[in-house]
Symmetry: C2
Subunit: 186 residues, 2 copies
Amino acid sequence: MRVYLAGPEVFLADRDAIAAAKKAICAEHGMIGVFPTDPAPEAPQADTDWMRIYLGNEAHIHGCDALIANLTPFRGVSADPGTAYELGFMRALGRPVLGYSNVAGNFTMRSLAALRGAVHRRASGAWEDADGMEVEDFGLTDNLMLDGGIAAAGGALVVNPVAEAARWRDLGGFTRCVAHLAGMKK
Amino acid sequence: MRVYLAGPEVFLADRDAIAAAKKAICAEHGMIGVFPTDPAPEAPQADTDWMRIYLGNEAHIHGCDALIANLTPFRGVSADPGTAYELGFMRALGRPVLGYSNVAGNFTMRSLAALRGAVHRRASGAWEDADGMEVEDFGLTDNLMLDGGIAAAGGALVVNPVAEAARWRDLGGFTRCVAHLAGMKK
Protein backbone atom coordinates (compact mmCIF):
# COMPACT_ATOMS: atom_id res chain seq x y z
CA MET A 1 0.00 0.00 0.00
CA ARG A 2 1.30 3.40 -1.02
CA VAL A 3 0.44 6.32 1.26
CA TYR A 4 0.57 9.98 0.22
CA LEU A 5 2.07 12.09 3.01
CA ALA A 6 0.19 15.38 2.74
CA GLY A 7 1.13 18.33 4.89
CA PRO A 8 2.93 21.64 5.15
CA GLU A 9 6.24 20.04 6.14
CA VAL A 10 7.21 20.60 2.52
CA PHE A 11 7.88 24.19 3.61
CA LEU A 12 10.52 23.19 6.21
CA ALA A 13 14.22 23.39 5.41
CA ASP A 14 14.69 19.88 6.88
CA ARG A 15 11.73 18.39 5.05
CA ASP A 16 13.86 15.55 3.69
CA ALA A 17 14.55 14.33 7.23
CA ILE A 18 10.83 14.45 8.08
CA ALA A 19 9.99 12.65 4.85
CA ALA A 20 12.50 9.93 5.74
CA ALA A 21 11.10 9.58 9.27
CA LYS A 22 7.53 9.30 8.01
CA LYS A 23 8.55 6.74 5.38
CA ALA A 24 10.31 4.68 8.06
CA ILE A 25 7.12 4.58 10.14
CA CYS A 26 5.15 3.52 7.07
CA ALA A 27 7.70 0.81 6.32
CA GLU A 28 7.26 -0.64 9.82
CA HIS A 29 3.68 -1.36 8.80
CA GLY A 30 4.60 -2.68 5.36
CA MET A 31 3.57 0.54 3.61
CA ILE A 32 5.39 2.84 1.22
CA GLY A 33 5.23 6.52 2.10
CA VAL A 34 5.19 8.98 -0.79
CA PHE A 35 6.27 12.54 0.02
CA PRO A 36 5.12 15.44 -2.18
CA THR A 37 8.69 16.37 -3.09
CA ASP A 38 9.58 12.85 -4.23
CA PRO A 39 10.28 12.67 -7.96
CA ALA A 40 6.97 12.53 -9.79
CA PRO A 41 5.92 9.17 -11.31
CA GLU A 42 6.13 10.77 -14.73
CA ALA A 43 7.83 14.04 -15.63
CA PRO A 44 5.07 16.67 -15.59
CA GLN A 45 4.80 18.67 -18.77
CA ALA A 46 4.49 22.30 -17.76
CA ASP A 47 6.09 25.64 -18.46
CA THR A 48 6.40 26.77 -14.85
CA ASP A 49 7.93 25.37 -11.68
CA TRP A 50 4.69 25.72 -9.75
CA MET A 51 2.69 23.85 -12.38
CA ARG A 52 5.29 21.07 -12.45
CA ILE A 53 4.93 20.81 -8.67
CA TYR A 54 1.14 20.79 -8.93
CA LEU A 55 1.03 18.11 -11.61
CA GLY A 56 3.63 16.05 -9.76
CA ASN A 57 1.53 16.09 -6.60
CA GLU A 58 -1.60 15.20 -8.52
CA ALA A 59 0.22 12.25 -10.11
CA HIS A 60 1.51 11.17 -6.69
CA ILE A 61 -2.00 11.20 -5.23
CA HIS A 62 -3.38 9.22 -8.16
CA GLY A 63 -0.58 6.71 -7.62
CA CYS A 64 -1.28 6.20 -3.93
CA ASP A 65 -3.84 4.00 -2.17
CA ALA A 66 -4.43 6.24 0.84
CA LEU A 67 -3.55 9.67 2.24
CA ILE A 68 -2.50 10.83 5.69
CA ALA A 69 -2.77 14.61 6.14
CA ASN A 70 -0.97 16.76 8.66
CA LEU A 71 -3.84 19.07 9.62
CA THR A 72 -1.93 20.97 12.32
CA PRO A 73 -3.16 24.58 12.01
CA PHE A 74 -0.86 26.47 9.62
CA ARG A 75 -0.45 30.25 10.11
CA GLY A 76 -4.00 30.55 11.39
CA VAL A 77 -6.84 28.46 12.73
CA SER A 78 -7.03 25.87 9.95
CA ALA A 79 -4.95 23.33 8.11
CA ASP A 80 -2.74 24.39 5.21
CA PRO A 81 -5.11 25.00 2.25
CA GLY A 82 -2.99 22.89 -0.09
CA THR A 83 -3.33 19.99 2.31
CA ALA A 84 -7.11 20.54 2.53
CA TYR A 85 -7.23 20.46 -1.27
CA GLU A 86 -5.29 17.20 -1.40
CA LEU A 87 -7.49 15.64 1.28
CA GLY A 88 -10.58 16.41 -0.78
CA PHE A 89 -8.88 15.17 -3.93
CA MET A 90 -8.08 11.76 -2.45
CA ARG A 91 -11.49 11.42 -0.80
CA ALA A 92 -13.09 11.99 -4.21
CA LEU A 93 -11.03 9.07 -5.55
CA GLY A 94 -12.79 6.93 -2.92
CA ARG A 95 -9.60 5.90 -1.16
CA PRO A 96 -8.92 6.06 2.62
CA VAL A 97 -8.01 9.46 4.05
CA LEU A 98 -6.75 10.10 7.56
CA GLY A 99 -5.43 13.12 9.40
CA TYR A 100 -3.74 14.35 12.53
CA SER A 101 -3.21 17.62 14.32
CA ASN A 102 -0.50 18.36 16.86
CA VAL A 103 -2.44 21.27 18.37
CA ALA A 104 -5.10 21.06 21.08
CA GLY A 105 -8.53 22.66 20.91
CA ASN A 106 -11.18 22.63 18.27
CA PHE A 107 -11.96 24.80 15.26
CA THR A 108 -14.63 26.81 17.09
CA MET A 109 -12.32 27.63 20.01
CA ARG A 110 -9.46 28.58 17.72
CA SER A 111 -11.70 30.71 15.50
CA LEU A 112 -13.19 32.61 18.46
CA ALA A 113 -9.71 33.16 19.93
CA ALA A 114 -8.38 34.49 16.61
CA LEU A 115 -11.33 36.87 16.28
CA ARG A 116 -10.35 38.37 19.67
CA GLY A 117 -13.87 39.14 20.82
CA ALA A 118 -14.97 40.76 17.57
CA VAL A 119 -18.02 38.49 17.48
CA HIS A 120 -21.63 38.66 18.53
CA ARG A 121 -24.54 36.26 18.83
CA ARG A 122 -27.21 35.99 16.19
CA ALA A 123 -30.81 35.59 17.37
CA SER A 124 -30.27 31.87 16.72
CA GLY A 125 -27.45 31.87 19.25
CA ALA A 126 -24.81 31.29 16.60
CA TRP A 127 -21.54 33.27 16.76
CA GLU A 128 -20.99 35.75 13.93
CA ASP A 129 -17.85 37.73 13.13
CA ALA A 130 -17.60 41.43 12.16
CA ASP A 131 -18.11 40.49 8.49
CA GLY A 132 -21.42 38.82 9.35
CA MET A 133 -19.89 35.38 8.83
CA GLU A 134 -21.02 32.61 11.15
CA VAL A 135 -18.39 30.83 13.22
CA GLU A 136 -18.78 27.10 12.64
CA ASP A 137 -19.69 25.61 15.99
CA PHE A 138 -19.71 21.84 15.73
CA GLY A 139 -16.75 21.31 18.07
CA LEU A 140 -14.80 19.66 15.26
CA THR A 141 -11.07 19.66 14.62
CA ASP A 142 -11.33 21.91 11.55
CA ASN A 143 -13.90 22.99 8.96
CA LEU A 144 -16.57 20.28 8.77
CA MET A 145 -15.62 19.29 5.24
CA LEU A 146 -12.20 18.15 6.47
CA ASP A 147 -13.51 16.25 9.49
CA GLY A 148 -16.39 14.91 7.40
CA GLY A 149 -14.24 13.55 4.61
CA ILE A 150 -12.12 11.59 7.03
CA ALA A 151 -15.18 10.27 8.89
CA ALA A 152 -16.93 9.31 5.65
CA ALA A 153 -13.83 7.39 4.57
CA GLY A 154 -13.67 5.49 7.87
CA GLY A 155 -10.34 7.13 8.57
CA ALA A 156 -8.95 8.45 11.84
CA LEU A 157 -8.54 12.10 12.82
CA VAL A 158 -5.99 12.06 15.63
CA VAL A 159 -5.52 15.12 17.82
CA ASN A 160 -2.21 14.75 19.60
CA PRO A 161 -1.24 18.01 21.33
CA VAL A 162 2.50 18.56 21.74
CA ALA A 163 4.71 21.44 22.83
CA GLU A 164 4.42 24.33 20.38
CA ALA A 165 8.05 24.12 19.32
CA ALA A 166 7.59 20.44 18.45
CA ARG A 167 4.36 20.74 16.52
CA TRP A 168 5.89 20.56 13.03
CA ARG A 169 8.07 17.55 13.73
CA ASP A 170 6.35 15.35 16.31
CA LEU A 171 5.17 12.15 14.63
CA GLY A 172 3.06 10.64 17.43
CA GLY A 173 -0.23 11.51 15.76
CA PHE A 174 1.09 10.44 12.38
CA THR A 175 2.17 7.08 13.82
CA ARG A 176 -1.33 6.50 15.19
CA CYS A 177 -2.76 7.24 11.75
CA VAL A 178 -0.47 4.69 10.14
CA ALA A 179 -1.52 2.10 12.72
CA HIS A 180 -5.19 2.89 12.07
CA LEU A 181 -4.67 2.57 8.33
CA ALA A 182 -2.95 -0.77 8.84
CA GLY A 183 -6.04 -1.95 10.72
CA MET A 184 -8.36 -0.74 7.95
CA LYS A 185 -6.62 -3.00 5.44
CA LYS A 186 -7.65 -6.16 7.29
CA MET B 1 -24.94 21.76 -16.91
CA ARG B 2 -25.13 21.79 -13.12
CA VAL B 3 -22.60 23.97 -11.31
CA TYR B 4 -21.67 23.57 -7.64
CA LEU B 5 -21.37 26.98 -5.99
CA ALA B 6 -18.57 26.48 -3.46
CA GLY B 7 -17.65 29.23 -1.02
CA PRO B 8 -17.91 30.60 2.48
CA GLU B 9 -21.13 32.52 1.73
CA VAL B 10 -22.86 29.63 3.49
CA PHE B 11 -21.77 31.39 6.71
CA LEU B 12 -23.69 34.62 5.89
CA ALA B 13 -27.11 35.30 7.41
CA ASP B 14 -28.39 36.31 3.94
CA ARG B 15 -26.89 33.33 2.16
CA ASP B 16 -30.22 32.47 0.54
CA ALA B 17 -30.24 35.81 -1.30
CA ILE B 18 -26.68 35.23 -2.52
CA ALA B 19 -27.56 31.70 -3.59
CA ALA B 20 -30.52 33.06 -5.56
CA ALA B 21 -28.37 35.74 -7.20
CA LYS B 22 -25.72 33.20 -8.22
CA LYS B 23 -28.34 30.82 -9.57
CA ALA B 24 -29.86 33.64 -11.63
CA ILE B 25 -26.47 34.36 -13.22
CA CYS B 26 -26.05 30.66 -14.00
CA ALA B 27 -29.53 30.54 -15.51
CA GLU B 28 -28.64 33.39 -17.87
CA HIS B 29 -26.06 31.01 -19.36
CA GLY B 30 -28.39 28.01 -19.39
CA MET B 31 -26.81 26.46 -16.30
CA ILE B 32 -28.27 25.28 -13.02
CA GLY B 33 -26.49 26.55 -9.92
CA VAL B 34 -26.40 24.23 -6.92
CA PHE B 35 -25.79 25.86 -3.54
CA PRO B 36 -24.35 23.83 -0.65
CA THR B 37 -27.41 24.44 1.51
CA ASP B 38 -29.85 23.23 -1.16
CA PRO B 39 -31.64 20.05 -0.14
CA ALA B 40 -29.33 17.11 -0.78
CA PRO B 41 -30.11 14.86 -3.78
CA GLU B 42 -30.73 12.01 -1.35
CA ALA B 43 -31.28 12.28 2.39
CA PRO B 44 -27.86 11.69 3.97
CA GLN B 45 -27.83 8.92 6.56
CA ALA B 46 -25.90 10.26 9.53
CA ASP B 47 -26.28 10.68 13.26
CA THR B 48 -25.06 14.27 13.45
CA ASP B 49 -25.98 17.54 11.80
CA TRP B 50 -22.41 18.16 10.63
CA MET B 51 -22.14 14.74 9.01
CA ARG B 52 -25.47 15.26 7.25
CA ILE B 53 -24.13 18.55 5.92
CA TYR B 54 -20.89 16.90 4.83
CA LEU B 55 -22.59 14.02 3.03
CA GLY B 56 -25.09 16.39 1.44
CA ASN B 57 -22.28 18.52 0.03
CA GLU B 58 -20.43 15.46 -1.23
CA ALA B 59 -23.61 14.28 -2.98
CA HIS B 60 -24.13 17.74 -4.48
CA ILE B 61 -20.59 17.78 -5.88
CA HIS B 62 -21.00 14.30 -7.36
CA GLY B 63 -24.23 15.49 -8.96
CA CYS B 64 -22.69 18.56 -10.59
CA ASP B 65 -20.74 18.91 -13.83
CA ALA B 66 -18.48 21.77 -12.72
CA LEU B 67 -17.56 23.85 -9.70
CA ILE B 68 -17.03 27.58 -9.21
CA ALA B 69 -15.25 28.39 -5.95
CA ASN B 70 -15.28 31.69 -4.08
CA LEU B 71 -11.60 31.83 -3.08
CA THR B 72 -11.75 35.28 -1.48
CA PRO B 73 -9.42 35.05 1.55
CA PHE B 74 -11.44 33.97 4.60
CA ARG B 75 -10.26 35.11 8.06
CA GLY B 76 -6.65 35.00 6.94
CA VAL B 77 -4.52 34.87 3.83
CA SER B 78 -6.16 31.90 2.12
CA ALA B 79 -9.49 30.62 0.90
CA ASP B 80 -11.89 28.94 3.29
CA PRO B 81 -10.47 25.43 3.90
CA GLY B 82 -13.81 23.76 3.23
CA THR B 83 -13.88 25.45 -0.17
CA ALA B 84 -10.30 24.31 -0.86
CA TYR B 85 -11.35 20.77 0.03
CA GLU B 86 -14.30 20.91 -2.35
CA LEU B 87 -12.15 22.34 -5.13
CA GLY B 88 -9.76 19.40 -4.82
CA PHE B 89 -12.67 16.98 -4.65
CA MET B 90 -14.20 18.17 -7.91
CA ARG B 91 -10.83 18.35 -9.66
CA ALA B 92 -10.24 14.70 -8.74
CA LEU B 93 -13.52 13.83 -10.45
CA GLY B 94 -11.99 15.29 -13.62
CA ARG B 95 -14.66 17.96 -14.08
CA PRO B 96 -14.08 21.69 -14.71
CA VAL B 97 -13.18 23.81 -11.69
CA LEU B 98 -13.00 27.60 -11.64
CA GLY B 99 -12.50 30.20 -8.96
CA TYR B 100 -12.57 33.88 -8.14
CA SER B 101 -11.29 36.17 -5.45
CA ASN B 102 -12.63 39.62 -4.62
CA VAL B 103 -9.38 40.69 -2.93
CA ALA B 104 -6.31 42.15 -4.61
CA GLY B 105 -2.76 40.95 -4.15
CA ASN B 106 -1.21 37.54 -4.29
CA PHE B 107 -0.63 34.79 -1.73
CA THR B 108 3.00 35.74 -1.15
CA MET B 109 2.17 39.38 -0.47
CA ARG B 110 -0.68 38.50 1.86
CA SER B 111 1.42 35.92 3.73
CA LEU B 112 4.31 38.34 4.25
CA ALA B 113 1.91 41.06 5.41
CA ALA B 114 0.24 38.69 7.88
CA LEU B 115 3.62 37.62 9.28
CA ARG B 116 4.33 41.31 10.05
CA GLY B 117 8.04 41.17 9.43
CA ALA B 118 8.65 37.98 11.42
CA VAL B 119 10.45 36.48 8.47
CA HIS B 120 14.00 36.10 7.25
CA ARG B 121 15.75 34.99 4.10
CA ARG B 122 17.21 31.50 3.73
CA ALA B 123 20.56 31.20 1.98
CA SER B 124 18.52 30.28 -1.10
CA GLY B 125 16.81 33.65 -0.91
CA ALA B 126 13.46 32.13 0.05
CA TRP B 127 11.39 33.77 2.79
CA GLU B 128 10.99 31.72 5.96
CA ASP B 129 8.71 32.43 8.94
CA ALA B 130 9.58 32.15 12.64
CA ASP B 131 8.59 28.46 12.59
CA GLY B 132 11.13 27.78 9.85
CA MET B 133 8.35 27.41 7.28
CA GLU B 134 9.01 28.73 3.80
CA VAL B 135 6.66 31.35 2.41
CA GLU B 136 5.42 30.16 -0.97
CA ASP B 137 6.68 32.68 -3.50
CA PHE B 138 5.21 31.92 -6.89
CA GLY B 139 3.12 35.08 -7.08
CA LEU B 140 -0.05 33.01 -7.29
CA THR B 141 -3.51 33.84 -6.01
CA ASP B 142 -3.38 31.21 -3.24
CA ASN B 143 -1.49 28.04 -2.34
CA LEU B 144 -0.20 26.48 -5.56
CA MET B 145 -2.47 23.46 -5.28
CA LEU B 146 -5.54 25.69 -5.62
CA ASP B 147 -4.18 27.71 -8.54
CA GLY B 148 -2.78 24.53 -10.08
CA GLY B 149 -6.01 22.58 -9.95
CA ILE B 150 -7.88 25.33 -11.74
CA ALA B 151 -5.13 25.71 -14.35
CA ALA B 152 -4.92 21.95 -14.92
CA ALA B 153 -8.68 21.84 -15.48
CA GLY B 154 -8.53 24.65 -18.03
CA GLY B 155 -10.64 26.78 -15.71
CA ALA B 156 -10.40 30.47 -14.94
CA LEU B 157 -9.10 32.04 -11.72
CA VAL B 158 -10.51 35.56 -11.73
CA VAL B 159 -9.13 38.18 -9.35
CA ASN B 160 -11.65 41.00 -9.17
CA PRO B 161 -10.76 43.39 -6.33
CA VAL B 162 -13.73 45.24 -4.81
CA ALA B 163 -14.25 47.46 -1.78
CA GLU B 164 -13.65 45.51 1.41
CA ALA B 165 -17.25 45.86 2.59
CA ALA B 166 -18.48 44.38 -0.71
CA ARG B 167 -16.12 41.46 -0.88
CA TRP B 168 -18.56 38.78 0.31
CA ARG B 169 -21.40 39.81 -1.96
CA ASP B 170 -19.94 41.24 -5.18
CA LEU B 171 -20.59 38.82 -8.03
CA GLY B 172 -18.46 40.40 -10.78
CA GLY B 173 -15.74 37.74 -10.51
CA PHE B 174 -18.32 35.00 -10.25
CA THR B 175 -20.09 36.25 -13.36
CA ARG B 176 -16.82 36.13 -15.31
CA CYS B 177 -16.31 32.54 -14.17
CA VAL B 178 -19.76 31.55 -15.40
CA ALA B 179 -19.04 33.17 -18.77
CA HIS B 180 -15.71 31.32 -18.97
CA LEU B 181 -17.40 28.04 -18.14
CA ALA B 182 -20.01 28.67 -20.83
CA GLY B 183 -17.15 29.09 -23.31
CA MET B 184 -15.52 25.84 -22.17
CA LYS B 185 -18.63 23.88 -23.08
CA LYS B 186 -18.31 24.74 -26.74
